[in-house]
């Protein structure tokens, strides 16, 4: 069996539709991960032992269990608790929740990296807590971790094919569907592989540029 270019042309629109779903899921999931991750980090810094410990263990639990099972959990278990989600929504929430535990670690590292003198200066200036965080610490912390956060966007993009397990027709799902319709799997899945590699090579170049731009040393 050889590569069939006509067939390749025919299936391309379907695959591009799938790619659109993949991109949407990745971006929305990433937005959730960015916001939720920051929330985890800040909650881990509250003085309450109970809150700290709970958040830390919850994050550790989510981080060290597979995304796929978590997706099943969100998609199949939440409806029995009265919260029914569409496949794509469930997928986006699952992705965002899983990666928020990673971004939380990234933010934490960034905050730890802010020099002690900055904290002392903020205290000496008698700044209110809100301004210490919003005006002094977070702008410096986030700047330091922009490239690392970028890496997690790429990682998320590469984990998005898992969404096919909860019936989202994203890129790989679309390829599998066209493949099973025509029983020719070689072309669609190869194209998906090439697309993934192309996107991640390009985006890693982009992250390298970000690294140079935001380098603090």
């Amino acid at each position: 069996m050889t590569w069939d270019w006509n067939y390749t042309g025919e299936i391309l629109p379907d695959l591009l539709n799938g790619l659109r779903v993949t991109v949407v899921a990745t971006l929305l999931g990433y937005a959730i991960a960015l916001v939720l991750g920051l929330a985890w980090t800040l909650l881990q810094r509250t003085p309450s032992r109970l809150v700290n410990g709970t958040v830390r263990w919850a994050a550790e639990f989510i981080r060290s269990t597979p995304l796929l099972v978590q997706l099943f959990f969100v998609f199949y278990v939440l409806p029995s608790w009265g919260l029914t989600l569409g496949p794509l929504t469930a997928g986006i929430i699952g992705l965002g929740l899983h990666y928020s535990t990673y971004t939380a670690e990234v933010y934490r590292a960034g905050i730890d990296d802010v020099p002690r003198g900055q904290w002392e200066a903020a205290t000496a200036l008698n700044l209110p807590r809100r301004r210490v965080w919003l005006g002094v610490v977070l702008p410096q912390a986030v700047r330091r971790v922009v490239p690392t956060l970028g890496n997690y966007l790429i990682a998320m993009f590469k984990d998005s094919p898992l969404l096919l397990a909860v019936n989202v027709v994203e890129l790989l799902g679309a390829a599998y569907q066209t493949g099973s319709r025509t029983l020719q799997f070689l072309e669609p899945i190869t194209i998906v592989g090439v697309l993934f590699i192309a996107v991640s090579v390009l985006s890693s170049l982009l992250v390298r540029r970000l690294e140079r731009r935001y380098a603090t040393y």
């Binding site: 810094r45 060290s64 898992l162 096919l164 790989l172 899945i189 590699i197």
Partner: protein, 235 residues
């Protein structure tokens, strides 16, 4: 819940498959990572090119896409894999690429003076690598390798999508048999968590041993006498 617990033989079988795939995948990934990582730190341009090619290709491809490709596409051009082989190969190749970057980075992070001293002592290139550079690089590699191992273990869940009866696959079966969705998936998540914790402990043990071997770790308990390092944010 009790129905779910009654099906624990199935669950344990699944967990065993998950552990097997994790170990086999990790071994393959480790071999590839060392081979391509050392190539990436070499001076010859072609060796570094081989490293770049491997890393960019297999780091870019998602493990699941790679697995589908090995499992559904390649049989059509005459290359046939058993599901298990396809899974291990896909995971090993994928995580080998991540590992190769770690190995390359660690070798490059060994202080240059160590390399120069080895040259001055007239060690052959192979001796230099084996006796001086690698032992120190290994200490740097272990923590990121630990993270990768957990990632690899988590990634094994996708093998259920190419019909391997791993833990996730068993979860779906048990869920279908008992109808206990929440209990089943919660239990399976806990099993995964336990496996991850065990792996993490093992890696930490290895880290301590390596550091002691290199003389970087003081005797037990001595750390508590050292004052905490300055810097860092107050909690």
């Amino acid at each position: 819940m009790s129905e779910v617990l009654d099906s624990h033989p199935q669950l344990l079988q699944g967990a065993w498959i998950t552990v097997q795939i994790t170990v086999l995948g990790a071994v393959l990934a480790l071999v590839l990572a060392l081979a391509f990582g050392v190539a990436g730190a070499a001076r010859a341009v072609w060796m570094r090119a081989v490293n770049r090619l491997y890393v960019e290709f297999f780091r870019g491809a998602a493990a699941l896409v790679l697995m589908y490709w090995l499992f559904y596409s390649l049989p059509l051009v005459g290359l046939r894999f058993t599901p298990m082989a396809a899974a291990v190969l896909a995971l090993g190749l994928n995580y080998g690429a991540y590992g190769a970057e770690v190995v390359r980075g660690s070798i490059n992070a060994v202080p240059k003076a160590q390399y120069e001293a080895a040259v001055a002592l007239n060690l052959r290139p192979a001796q230099r690598m084996r006796r001086v550079i690698l032992p120190q690089a290994v200490a740097l590699m272990l923590p990121p390798f630990g993270n990768l191992l957990i990632e690899l273990m988590k990634a094994t869940a996708v093998v259920s999508l190419v019909t391997i009866a791993d833990l996730t696959f068993r979860a779906q079966q048990i869920q279908a048999n008992t109808g206990e969705t929440a209990a089943t998936y919660a239990l399976v998540l806990v099993v995964y968590f336990v496996i991850a914790q065990v792996l993490q402990r093992l890696v930490r043990l290895l880290e301590h041993r390596t550091e002691r071997m290199l003389g970087r770790r003081p005797r037990r308990g001595a750390l508590r006498e050292v004052p905490a390092p300055a810097g860092g944010a107050p909690r």
